[in-house]
C-alpha cells in the first residue's frame, strides 16, 4: 500500500471498468460530478478503455452539462480511437486507427490459424470473435457458464481455463496460446501486433492501451505543457495474473517516468514496483478524485489547448535553431490582408521574424518593388527573476508549437529551467483574425512553477526591421504610449499605423518606453509560485491604402476591442475559419499523411486570399516569407486560383480583378516591346509593372541573364485561361462584361501581334521561354503556341458573346479599344495558321522547334543527385531533352478536351521520363495528369513528392516562405486528379480515380452557385446536389441530376449510376 503524493495533478488518466465503475450498469452520476469538479479546477481528464465510446458516453451521460473545451477525452477500443467531449458533452472522434484491408485480412488469418492450431493440439472447441475494431478475440473457453465472467471471478476463470487445457494434454495452454499468437502474427506480416489476454481470450490487435497512453504522452501532454510528474494514472489491473501483467500495465510506458500510477483493484498477486496499491475499487477512486479537487491548480485557459485531432495540427516539438526559418514559414499566420511569420515571440539570432501586408511594396536594392517587412507585432520578452527567458539559455524542459489549422491559431507551450533551477511555464496563443482582418491577437500565460520572483513582460512594436539584404524599408513618423506606432515606406511613401490595446491579469499598468520607430510596454508583476500571470494584446494595423489617416483609423479600430475579453474575437475568428473549412475541406480516410498535407495546403491557401481587396494578388510565397519578394507569377492563376474558384468564388474573382486593375501596365509593357494588346509582367507587384531583373550573379559568381522577364510571355495565356475557367464555373456575366472580356480581348490582340507569318503562310511565335526554363529563347514552343491559339479563339468567342449579350457594353468597349471586326477576324486567322509542333508520325508535340534533335539523357541515373540538374549538366542542359517541369504535359492538362486521349497519353509517356522536376510546380502537375490518365499509383507517388515540398523542406528552400502554388496543386490533384472532376463548357465531368490506399475521399465543390458534396471510394461515388446539375459520369452520357443524393458504382471498368434520393 502507498499514499498518493499530496499535491495537485494537472492530468488524470484512468481505466474505466473496475477502476471508475464497478460494471456497465452502475449509475455514474457521482463519478461525473467528481470529473466535472476537477475539470472546473483546470484538470484534464483522459479515460483509457478497451470498450467503445457508446458505453462510456451513455454511462457518463454528459448531455446538458457544460464542459470546458478540451478537458475531457476518452481513448477507446484498446488504443484505436480517441474522442474529445465537446462543450455540450458530445464525444467527437479525433483519432481513428483504421485498419487497412490487408491488415484486417492478416488479423483474420492470425485468429483462424490460432484457432485451428489450438483445436488441433487440444481437440477443444475454440471460438473467434471477429467483429472488433482492429482486433480479433480468440475465445479459449467458449462455454455458456463463462460467457461474460465478471472481473471478480477472474481467479475462478483462470482455474477453469487451466484445467480445461490440462485435461486436453496442454499443460500451459495460456502460455502456449500467447506464444503461438506472436509467432503467427510475425508470419502474417504483423510483427508489431499487440497480443494480450484477459484469461478468457487471447486478443490480437493493431493497438492496445499502451497506444492510448502513447497518445496521451506524445500528443496531449506536450500541448498542455505539463511535466510527467503532473500525471496521475489510475487502474485496477497492473499486477501479474496467470503469468502476464495486467492490462493496465500497458499504460506504463518508459516515457511516463515521473507519473504517479495507482491501482484500486484487488491485485491478488501484488502490483509492480512503482505502482501505488490503494485498493478499494471504484469507491476509492472516486474518493481520490474528490481529494484531487481540493488542490489549487493554475488552470490553463482552454484557448491554449489545441484541437487534438492530429489531422488538424502541424506540430513542432523541441527546438533546433538551424531549422527555425523553415518552421517560421510553416507556422505563418495569414488572413489575406496580412501574414505574420511563426517566429518565437522573444525572437533571437535564429529568428527571421516579420509581418507582411498585402500590397505594401517598396523598391529594394535592385530597384524592383519588394514586399515590405513590417514590425513583428507578437514581439514579447519575458524576464523571470531577473533572467530573460530564451530557448538558447538555460534548459528547455518542454517546447511544443502547434499550428491549430481548424481554428487558425498558433499555440506554444514551453517549460524553461534557468541555471539556478527556476522553472517557468509559458503558454502563448496568437492569431491574425480572419473575421477582422486588420486585427491581431495574442494571449500569454506565465507561471513560476517552483519559485517566487519578479516577472517582467515587455511587448514591442519595432519599426526598425531589416530585410534579408539588411535594408530598412520603413522610417518612423510618429509614436505614442497609447500605444501607437506610425511608419512610412521610404520610397513608395505608404503610411502604416499600428495601434495596440493590452490588458493583464492581475491588472498592472504598463510602463511605456518610446524611441524613434519603436514603442514598448513593460508589465511588472511580483511573481508568486504557482500563480499565473496573463497578458492579452490586440494590435490593429491600418495603411493609407485602406483610407486616409491610417493612424486615427487604427486607433479607433483598436478602441473597439476589449483586450480582457479575447473570447469574443477568438470565437468570431474560429467561426470564420469554420465557414472556410466547410466550403473547402478535403477529407481523406486511410492516409493520415496525405490528409495532413492537404489540410496544411488549404490552411495556407485560405490565409493567402482576401476576397475584399482586388488591388492585390498572391505572391509565390503568399504572405509567409520574403522569398520571391512578394512577386506574383503565373502561379496564382493556374495553380492557386482553381482552389478559390471551387471553394470561395469571390476570392477567385478578386484575384482576376487584380489583373484587370493592372491591365494598363500590361498594355504599356506590350507597347514598349513593340506589340499590341496587353502583356502581363512575369513578376508583378502592386503596379503590374515588370519586376524581373535582367541579370543576376549566378551560383559560380558568374553573371546570369534572366530571360523570363523578356520572353516568358505565356503569363498572358495563364491570365486569360483563368478568366475563362472562372466564367465556365460561375457564369458571372457582370464580371465578363465589365472586366474579363477586356482582359481576353487584350490578350488575344497581343498574341495576334506577337505571331509572325512565314513565307509559306504559317505563323510562328519566336524567341520565347516556355514553362521549361532549361530551354530559353526558343521558337514555336508547343505550350506557348497552343495556349496562344486558345487565347486567340477565345478572344473571338468573347467578342461574339459581348456583342450578342451586352451590346451596349460591347459598343462602348469596342470604341474604347478601337477594335474592329477585321481585327477579330485576323485573330482567328493567325490562330488557324499557328504551328503546333505536332508530329503525326509519333503522335506527340515537339516541345519547341528543334527539340527532337537534342540529345536524349537518361535521367534515372541522376535521380539521387545532390545538386540541381542544370548545375550538374551545366549549360549543356539546353542541348539535351531534359526539361525542367511539365511543359507539353501542362498544355495537355489545361486544354484536356482539345486533344485526343491517345495524344494526351503519348505526350505524357514521352515527356514525364524527361522531366527533372526543377520546379516545385512540376510534381503536382505530373500527379494531376497521371491521375487523369488513370495512372493512379504513379500519381500518388508524385502527390507525396509534392506534399513534402514544404512539410519536408524537400526543395531545401522553405525557409523564406511556403510554396503557395505547389500547395494549390495538391488541392487540384485531390479534386481534379483523384476526384476526377472536370469542368466542361456546360456540364461537369466526373470520373473518380481514388487510390486504393485511400479508403475514401470527400470534398465540397462550388459550381454555378451551388456547393456540391462529393464522397467517393475507388468503387463508389455519392454526389449531394442542392440543385439541378448536368453531369457526365465516366463514359456514360450526359445526365441532368436533380436536387438530392446521387450514387454511382464502379464495376466492370466503368462507372454506372445507382438510385438517387431526393431531399
Amino acid at each position: 500500500m502507498g499514499h498518493v503524493p499530496h499535491r495537485p495533478f494537472g492530468l488524470v488518466v484512468f481505466d474505466w471498468d473496475g477502476t471508475a465503475v464497478r460494471d456497465r450498469q452502475e449509475d455514474a452520476s457521482e463519478l461525473r460530478a467528481r470529473l466535472l469538479a476537477l475539470m472546473e479546477h483546470g484538470v484534464v481528464i483522459v479515460v483509457i478503455t478497451g470498450t467503445n465510446i457508446r458505453n462510456i458516453a451513455s454511462q457518463l451521460s454528459l448531455e446538458g452539462c457544460r464542459l470546458p473545451r478540451g478537458r475531457l477525452y476518452a481513448a477507446t477500443n484498446r488504443g484505436s480511437e480517441v474522442y474529445v467531449f465537446t462543450p455540450d458533452g458530445r464525444p467527437e472522434r479525433i483519432v481513428y486507427r483504421q485498419a487497412l484491408p490487408a491488415e484486417n485480412a492478416a488479423l483474420d488469418r492470425i485468429a483462424t490459424s490460432l484457432q485451428a492450431e489450438l483445436q488441433q493440439r487440444t481437440g477443444l472447441p475454440i471460438a473467434v470473435v471477429f467483429d472488433r475494431l482492429n482486433r480479433r478475440k480468440i475465445d479459449l473457453i467458449p462455454l455458456s457458464e463463462w460467457r461474460d465472467p465478471p472481473k471478480a471471478r477472474i481467479g475462478d476463470l483462470l482455474a477453469a481455463v487451466r484445467s480445461r487445457f490440462a485435461a486436453s494434454g496442454l499443460g500451459d495452454g495460456l502460455g502456449f496460446a500467447l506464444e503461438a499468437a506472436g509467432r503467427l502474427a510475425r508470419e502474417a506480416g504483423l510483427p508489431e501486433a499487440r497480443i494480450t489476454s484477459d484469461v478468457k481470450h487471447i486478443e490480437v490487435g493493431l493497438t492496445h492501451k499502451g497506444d492510448s497512453m502513447a497518445w496521451v504522452l506524445h500528443d496531449l501532454v506536450p500541448a498542455l505543457g505539463l511535466p510527467t510528474e503532473a500525471i496521475l494514472v489510475g487502474g485496477d489491473e497492473f499486477g501479474p495474473l496467470a503469468g502476464f501483467l495486467g492490462s493496465d500495465s500497458q499504460m506504463r510506458l518508459p516515457e511516463a517516468e515521473g507519473a504517479t500510477f495507482v491501482s484500486v483493484g484487488r491485485e491478488p498477486n501484488g502490483v509492480p514496483e512503482g505502482v501505488l496499491h490503494l485498493g478499494g475499487g471504484p469507491e476509492r477512486f472516486k474518493a481520490l478524485l474528490a481529494e484531487l479537487a481540493t488542490f489549487k491548480l493554475p488552470a490553463l485557459p482552454t484557448i491554449f489547448i489545441p484541437d487534438m485531432d492530429p489531422s488538424w495540427q502541424h506540430r513542432e516539438s523541441g527546438f533546433l535553431p538551424l531549422s527555425e526559418h523553415e518552421v517560421e514559414s510553416r507556422f505563418a499566420l495569414s488572413n489575406g490582408y496580412s501574414g505574420t511569420r511563426g517566429s518565437l515571440m522573444e525572437q533571437g539570432p535564429y529568428s527571421r521574424a516579420g509581418t507582411f501586408l498585402a500590397g505594401v511594396f517598396d523598391p529594394g536594392l535592385a530597384g524592383f518593388d519588394e514586399l515590405v517587412i513590417a514590425p513583428f507585432w507578437p514581439a514579447l520578452t519575458i524576464e523571470a527573476a531577473g533572467e530573460s527567458l530564451r530557448l538558447d539559455t538555460g534548459e528547455c524542459l518542454l517546447h511544443c508549437r502547434t499550428l491549430d489549422m481548424r481554428r487558425g491559431m498558433l499555440l506554444r507551450a514551453w517549460r524553461h529551467r534557468s541555471a539556478e533551477g527556476r522553472i517557468t511555464r509559458v503558454h502563448e496563443a496568437r492569431w491574425a483574425s480572419l473575421a477582422d482582418r486588420r486585427a491581431f491577437f495574442q494571449q500569454v500565460w506565465v507561471v513560476p512553477e517552483n519559485y517566487s520572483g519578479p516577472l517582467v513582460l515587455v511587448g514591442a512594436l519595432d519599426g526598425e526591421v531589416r530585410d534579408l539584404e539588411g535594408e530598412i524599408h520603413l522610417e518612423p513618423v510618429f509614436g505614442d504610449a497609447s500605444p501607437l506606432l506610425v511608419l512610412r515606406t521610404r520610397q513608395s511613401v505608404i503610411t502604416l499605423a499600428f495601434a495596440g490595446k493590452f490588458a493583464s491579469l492581475p491588472p498592472v499598468s504598463p510602463q511605456p518606453r518610446l524611441r524613434p520607430g519603436a514603442v514598448e510596454q513593460q508589465w511588472s508583476f511580483p511573481g508568486r509560485m504557482e500563480e499565473p500571470v496573463s497578458l492579452r494584446r490586440t494590435v490593429v494595423v491600418s495603411t493609407d491604402r485602406d483610407g486616409p489617416d491610417p493612424a486615427s483609423a487604427a486607433r479607433a479600430h483598436a478602441d473597439t476591442l476589449r483586450p480582457l475579453d479575447l473570447e469574443g474575437p477568438a470565437a468570431a475568428h474560429e467561426a470564420a475559419w469554420r465557414d472556410w473549412w466547410e466550403a473547402a475541406d478535403v477529407r481523406i480516410a486511410g492516409d493520415a499523411a496525405a490528409q495532413k498535407a492537404l489540410r496544411f495546403a488549404m490552411f495556407h491557401l485560405i490565409g493567402a486570399a482576401d476576397a475584399e481587396d482586388p488591388r492585390v494578388s498572391i505572391g509565390a510565397k503568399a504572405l509567409t516569407g520574403e522569398g520571391y519578394k512578394g512577386h506574383v507569377f503565373w502561379d496564382t492563376e493556374l495553380y492557386m486560383l482553381p482552389f478559390y474558384l471551387h471553394t470561395h468564388p469571390p476570392a477567385a474573382r478578386t484575384l482576376l480583378m487584380y489583373r484587370y486593375h493592372t491591365l494598363d501596365a500590361a498594355r504599356q509593357r506590350a507597347r514598349a516591346m513593340g506589340y499590341r494588346g496587353a502583356l502581363y509582367a512575369w513578376e508583378s507587384t502592386d503596379t503590374g509593372e515588370e519586376a524581373t531583373p535582367e541579370t543576376v550573379i549566378g551560383i559560380y559568381g558568374e553573371p546570369v541573364p534572366i530571360l523570363t522577364g523578356k520572353m516568358a510571355h505565356h503569363i498572358d495565356s495563364a491570365v486569360a485561361y483563368a478568366v475563362w475557367k472562372y466564367w465556365q464555373s460561375t457564369r458571372d456575366v457582370d464580371f465578363m462584361a465589365e472586366a474579363g472580356g477586356e482582359i481576353l480581348i487584350e490578350v488575344a490582340r497581343f498574341w495576334a501581334s506577337r505571331a509572325e507569318p512565314d513565307a509559306a503562310g504559317a505563323t510562328h511565335i519566336r524567341h520565347v521561354v516556355g514553362p521549361d526554363e532549361y530551354h530559353t529563347d526558343v521558337d514555336d514552343s508547343a505550350y506557348t503556341n497552343g495556349m496562344a491559339r486558345f487565347c486567340l479563339d477565345l478572344g473571338g468567342r468573347i467578342v461574339a458573346w459581348l456583342a450578342h449579350n451586352r451590346p451596349a457594353d460591347w459598343a462602348r468597349l469596342a470604341e474604347r479599344l478601337g477594335l474592329s471586326e477585321a481585327e477579330v477576324a485576323k485573330w482567328l486567322s493567325v490562330s488557324r495558321r499557328l504551328v503546333t509542333g505536332f508530329d503525326p508520325a509519333r503522335g506527340i508535340h515537339e516541345q519547341f522547334a528543334g527539340y527532337f534533335r537534342l540529345a536524349d539523357v537518361d535521367l534515372p541515373p541522376h535521380a539521387a543527385r545532390t545538386m540541381p540538374l542544370e548545375l550538374l549538366l551545366g549549360r549543356d542542359i539546353a542541348q539535351t531533352q531534359v526539361i525542367k517541369q511539365a511543359d507539353v504535359v501542362m498544355l495537355m492538362r489545361l486544354l484536356w478536351d482539345f486533344y485526343p486521349s491517345e495524344v494526351r497519353a503519348a505526350n505524357f509517356a514521352y515527356y514525364a521520363p524527361r522531366t527533372a522536376h526543377g520546379s516545385s510546380l512540376s510534381p503536382g502537375v505530373q500527379a494531376l495528369v497521371a491521375a487523369k490518365l488513370g495512372l493512379t499509383g504513379m500519381a500518388l507517388d508524385y502527390f507525396r513528392f509534392a506534399a513534402e515540398i514544404d512539410l519536408g523542406n524537400r526543395m531545401g528552400n522553405a525557409s523564406e516562405g511556403v510554396h503557395a502554388a505547389a500547395l494549390g496543386l495538391l488541392w487540384q490533384v485531390a479534386v481534379f486528379g483523384f476526384g476526377g472532376l472536370h469542368v466542361h463548357e456546360d456540364f461537369l465531368m466526373v470520373d473518380p480515380r481514388v487510390p486504393e490506399a485511400w479508403l475514401s475521399l470527400a470534398f465540397p465543390f462550388h459550381y454555378r452557385g451551388m456547393r456540391l458534396q462529393f464522397t467517393m471510394t475507388s468503387t463508389e461515388l455519392a454526389i449531394d446536389c442542392p440543385g439541378p446539375l448536368p453531369v457526365r459520369l465516366g463514359a456514360e452520357g450526359l445526365r441532368k441530376l436533380g436536387p438530392g443524393l446521387h450514387r454511382a458504382r464502379f464495376t466492370g471498368g466503368t462507372w454506372t449510376w445507382m438510385a438517387s434520393t431526393s431531399p
Binding site: 545538386m867 525542367k884 524537400r954 528552400n957 525557409s959 523564406e960
Partner: protein
C-alpha cells in the same frame, strides 16, 4: 547559438617541431595568423631523452633572435603521448605541428596526435609559397552538416583577426546528410534570380551565422563543388591560394576514416587548421 561550436581558448600556443624545414614557416604562420590572439608561444621539441633548449634551437636552425619573446621548452617522451598531455596541462589554445605533404599517407603518430589533442591543431607545410599571407583568405570547406560546421567560429575568428575574407566551399556529398539541421544542394533553382540567393542565405545562416551568433563580421564568398571533397578543396585552394584552410573532422583517423583530412595532410601546400567536432 547551439553550444556545440569550436573556438580558441585563452591558453598559450604550443609549437612542436621536429625538423628545421618547418621552423621558419611555422613561426611565420603563427606570427601572422595569431598576432592578434595575444597568446604566449611555446616552442618545443620532443625527444628521449629530452634535448636541451640550445639543442632545440640548433636542430631547428633558429637563432635566439628568431625566438625572441618565445618560450623554448623541450619535452621528453613520445610525441603522440607527450604533446596532447602538455597541451592539456597548459590549457593550450592551439597546437602547431609541421606538415609534410607529398610524404605519403599521414602516419599513425600524426593520427594519434590529432585524435588526442585537446585543442585545435594547426599544421604548417615546410615551405610557404612566396606570396603566402597576401591573399587574406581563410578557406572553410563544409559538407552541409551542423557538426562539421561547428568549426565555423574558428575560421571566422581567424579571418577577423588576420583581416581576411572567408571563402566557404560547399562540397555536395553523394548521399544527402541525415544529421538534423543538415542541408543539401538545392534540388532546383527555379527562378534563379530568387532561388540561388535564398539558398545561399539559408546556408550561411545555418552553418556560419548560427554558430557565430549573428551576422558575420567578415566578407564571405560561397563556392559550390561536387566530387571528392579533398580534391575539390585542393583544387579551389590551388586557384585562390588561401592563407589557411580550416576544417572539422570527426576524430576517428583509423580504418579509412577522415579521408578528406588525410588528403589535405598529404597534399596541402597551405596551412591547415583542424579541430575535432
Amino acid at each position: 547559438m547551439d553550444g556545440q561550436h569550436v573556438s580558441l581558448s585563452e591558453g598559450p600556443i604550443l609549437v612542436a617541431l621536429n625538423e628545421a624545414r618547418h621552423a621558419r614557416s611555422a613561426l611565420r604562420v603563427v606570427q601572422v595568423l595569431c598576432a592578434r590572439l595575444d597568446r604566449s608561444v611555446v616552442v618545443t621539441q620532443v625527444g628521449e631523452p629530452a634535448p636541451s633548449s640550445e639543442e632545440v634551437l640548433e636542430r631547428l636552425e633558429l637563432s635566439p633572435q628568431d625566438v625572441a619573446g618565445v618560450i623554448v621548452e623541450p619535452l621528453r617522451g613520445r610525441p603522440e603521448d607527450v604533446l596532447p598531455e602538455a597541451a592539456r596541462e597548459r590549457h593550450c589554445s592551439l597546437l602547431v605541428l609541421g606538415l609534410s605533404p607529398q610524404a605519403g599517407e599521414p602516419g599513425a603518430t600524426l593520427g594519434h596526435l590529432l585524435s588526442r589533442s585537446p585543442c585545435p591543431v594547426l599544421l604548417v607545410p615546410p615551405e610557404l609559397y612566396d606570396r603566402w599571407g597576401e591573399a587574406r583568405i581563410v578557406l572553410l570547406p563544409l559538407d552541409g552538416t551542423p557538426s562539421t560546421a561547428s568549426v565555423a567560429p574558428l575560421a571566422i575568428d581567424m579571418a577577423v583577426r588576420s583581416g581576411s575574407s572567408l571563402e566557404i566551399l560547399y562540397v555536395g556529398v553523394p548521399k544527402p546528410p541525415s544529421e538534423p539541421g543538415s542541408m543539401g544542394f538545392p534540388s532546383f533553382l527555379d527562378q534563379p534570380q530568387h532561388e540561388w540567393a535564398m539558398w545561399k542565405r539559408e546556408f550561411l545562416y545555418r552553418f556560419c551565422e548560427c554558430h557565430w551568433g549573428g551576422k558575420l563580421p567578415v566578407d564571405v564568398t560561397l563556392t559550390l563543388a561536387t566530387g571528392d571533397p579533398g580534391d575539390a578543396i585542393l583544387e579551389l585552394a590551388g586557384r585562390h591560394e588561401p592563407d589557411l584552410i580550416v576544417i572539422g573532422w570527426h576524430g576517428e583517423f583509423a580504418h579509412a576514416h577522415a579521408q578528406t583530412l588525410r588528403k589535405l595532410l598529404s597534399h596541402s601546400r597551405w596551412p591547415v587548421l583542424t579541430a575535432r567536432v
